[in-house]
Subunit: 254 residues, 2 copies
């Protein structure tokens, strides 16, 4: 059994200095159950967006989790492992003294939330949804695509960040971001692509969506949250550098 | 080929009186392609919550779609079918003259959004997620359960309605709603159950969550949006009146 430690007040676990930590460790140990280690996840890092704040939280996560292990050991309870997590802190930690495991998930793909946190560039994002233009509402400046929230997920993680990407960043099929366009809204099976700003050049921009994105145009949408978008599908289509396509079944559930 | 008609300005399709309708019908017909019918989906009905408004939109949907078919027929383009949709209008239509098909989806399960629209009671909701209490944060009044948004989906459809159910309405395992409690927030794998109001009886309520919901307690959560929640799973566990459980594989995709 591992003991979850709360190092940032974000979610669940026992705080490193709480009496409960030793009480739980003692109950396990005295009943012949091995304490495998302590683990934490500094999920509050998702709300940050400066290098300084991320470095500080990574150190708080490390120090708190190591401290919990040391308290258990000092009380005579063996605690071999110290596991820390979260993609932003994993990529910002300046030291990992005392840590035996780093669990980071979304870093394998990255996404627009991580881009806003500041730990990846748009070009680093390795998961996207291919979609097709299926209609227009020229008066509204809308391009209707066949990727709604059933494709992108309902995740609107960037809505609370400095740059709101709507339901995703549209790109050409080769992955080049379409600057000035957004998947602005989504229904279950329909996505609404539109221009992000409509100031002086408004009319031109609205006409532009029909001529620029004719029916049948294939686009690629970068997701707010790779975990949520991935979970909408049963498999990945993995594209190798040379262009070959492999199909990878996804693990579902949690 | 069917022609999509826009009867409520909500999403996609051609408006019944637009010249484009006949132009599209003509191109299809003159090229030997059968126009199977006209179809519409009055999705704007999700934003209503009075019987009068729903009845009016159902009639607008019916009349607009029938009108589109009549215009095509008058122009010599056969159009056999008239298909209307949306759960709230399907349940509110007072007449269906000229309609050959009604497509309603979420009405097979219902959900909290439909409850707020006013077309079902909480007791009508036939889809729920069973979850287990896995922790507490007593100072915050939180019960941590193992149904986060990966279980419930990210859908927050009730946030724009008169009653916000957070990420879902907790119930006892037998389906009785726990009045005064909410799945107030959700992380990927963790849900946060808490009391909805904390006025005078604040402290009592916060202590209450630990004693009332001990670790291991099984609860049932009613979802905001049955379509979104269902899509998070690969199968349904269907419960018969006599208690037998059947496993139904889900269709995935769209």
């Amino acid at each position: 059994v591992w003991i979850e430690v709360d190092t940032d007040g974000h979610r669940s676990g026992i705080m490193p200095e709480q009496d409960t930590l030793l009480a739980v460790g003692r109950i396990l140990h005295d009943n012949g159950i091995d304490v495998g280690g302590v683990m934490t996840h500094a999920g509050a890092s998702y709300e940050l967006n400066t290098r300084e704040a991320l470095v500080a939280l990574a150190e708080q996560e490390r120090a708190g989790c190591v401290r919990a292990a040391e308290r258990l050991r000092a009380a005579g309870i063996p605690c071999a492992n110290v596991s820390v997590g979260s993609t932003p802190t994993a990529l910002s930690a300046e030291r990992l003294d005392g840590v035996t495991e780093v669990r980071a998930g979304v870093y394998v793909f990255f996404d627009l939330v991580m881009h806003n946190v500041g730990v990846c560039s748009l070009d680093d994002i390795a998961l996207s949804v291919v979609t097709t233009v299926i209609g227009h509402q020229p008066e509204k400046g809308w391009v209707v695509v066949d990727a709604g929230w059933m494709a992108m997920s309902r995740d609107r993680g960037t809505s609370r960040q400095t740059r709101d990407f709507g339901y995703g960043q549209p790109c050409t099929l080769d992955g080049t971001p379409l600057d000035g366009y957004l998947l602005a809204d989504a229904n279950q099976e329909h996505g609404i692509l539109s221009a992000t700003a409509r100031k002086s050049g408004a009319t031109a921009r609205i006409d532009d969506v029909v001529t620029r994105f004719p029916i049948g145009t294939k686009l690629r949408i970068l997701p707010n949250h790779a975990c949520a978008t991935g979970a909408q599908f049963s498999e990945y289509h993995a594209l190798a550098a040379a262009g070959e396509l492999a199909t990878w079944r996804r693990f579902g559930g949690w």
